[in-house]
Symmetry: C2
């Protein structure tokens, strides 16, 4: 038991409730958690939650949903306003237009973005909105650069991340491996996943930083079928729209990449969401 605490007033309780909800998106939190933490009656906490809900909605900072039933409580759905979404995606485009990002072979260097916690958290809040009503069991990604984005989307959806690897490691136990043709290079690659990594009959989405032909997403779909599991959709930070024929359908992205312009600068634009 934690040491006894006195009473808290409304200002104090709503601060604590907001902190707990913000750190645990899409997780069902029972009212008991708060009645114990603040030594307050359930009716008092219910009133607090009404206030928090109203403020977060007014500020377009997210929604609080009520979950009925024996294991019920409330859960917080993180959101950004349409204004904040558009502003963030335009910022991302501006970052990508930096000439120094173009590396030999006309590839775009995006590693710093893929590992920047502020940017990735914002990108994940926007991307995860497309999947929030799908009852997702797992977010699946593939090593390496997509891991932070996949991790943040999993956090926003309140589920576990599963990372597919190119190699097999002795610490993974039994693994299932498939070969797939990477859409960009048509090079045959291997992807493998530990049999311990997910329950069978799971509902999954695939998250990655960059999508070219969609060959990787197609491979993920095949790998998941070996686990009797389903790929419901995919989400990407950047969609290389130069490649018109995609091997994946049902996907969302934040930025369209149209290639490198004659001035040596990436041509990018906000994606049109299909959600």
């Amino acid at each position: 038991m934690e040491k006894g605490r006195g009473k808290f007033n409304r200002n104090q309780r709503v601060i604590g409730i907001t902190k707990v909800l913000t750190e645990n998106p899409n997780k069902v939190i029972t009212l008991n958690v708060f009645t114990e933490k603040f030594n307050a009656a359930k009716s008092t906490i219910s009133e607090d939650i009404v206030i928090v809900r109203e403020v977060l909605e007014t500020l377009s900072m997210g929604r609080i949903e009520t979950v009925a039933g024996a294991s019920g409580g409330i859960k917080f759905i993180n959101e950004k306003s349409a204004y904040d979404k558009a502003k963030f995606i335009e910022e991302l485009c501006e970052l990508l237009r930096d000439k120094s990002r173009v590396v030999p072979g006309n590839f775009l260097y995006i590693t710093d973005i893929a590992y920047n916690p502020s940017l990735i958290q914002s990108a994940a809040i926007i991307l995860s909105a497309a999947f929030k009503n799908m009852n997702v069991d797992y977010v699946v990604t593939i090593e390496t650069k997509g891991i932070p984005l996949g991790y943040e989307v999993a956090k926003q959806l309140g589920v576990q991340l599963v990372t597919v690897r190119h190699d097999t490691k002795y610490t993974e136990g039994t693994t299932v491996s498939i070969n797939y043709a990477s859409g960009s290079s048509n090079r045959l690659q291997t992807m493998s996943l530990s049999t311990k990594s997910m329950r069978r009959n799971s509902r999954c989405i695939f998250i990655d930083d960059f999508m070219r032909g969609g060959g990787t997403a197609k491979g993920i779909r095949e790998l998941l079928s070996e686990f009797d599991s389903e790929l419901l959709g995919s989400g990407f930070l950047i969609d290389s729209v130069e490649i018109k024929e995609k091997l994946v359908d049902k996907y969302v992205s934040l930025v369209n990449f149209h290639g490198i312009g004659e001035d040596g600068i990436a041509i990018v634009s906000p994606s049109i969401h299909n959600d």
Copy 2:
């Protein structure tokens, strides 16, 4: 500009302030952000912040520090109480004592933990406390399983994550590679890092999921020296204490792993922190 908003009362403002601070640990946020968001005077916001600060400290949910100067403001340092820390680490130990984690070769399967957002967020809040006064510029990790933990520690410290790779990818531009002997296997491996990934003369910490002999951390130190940068310390989820001679000093961990017992169960205990 966002569309005009009315006035907010204190309850409402402290909710919004708490949300913004929780999502942006260790980032300096100017008071202007809040005066604009809430259409309120600076003195009002200052009073709000005093309340938020007191509540978070009373509930052991973190600290708010004032940053003086022209680019000053406040920043939020996420923390857990001693009680919550001990409780979390004991939960982690209990998870690790699951017999089904032991895979052929007497290795411990921890992949599910390494990719679990709730667990990794808590682990990162605890680990990052050891580095919060070091003026860290970058958190460095190495692919693959340490990435979520490295990412969360970077987020808690308000800095960029840098991920060292075993291979070199065409999207990374120019890279610097070194060979190093992995402490556990004495196998020679390669680690490489894009020259674009960090500024020279940087102060870095290394974060990984599991530490055996410390050979990887030693390799990271050498790789960083190629960038004229310094390794200030390291943090690990699990320290394999069976291996007594470590190639790394100045590190913290959450759990000590003493090997697999005769009953086929991992022997683990909370680490003694050296912070």
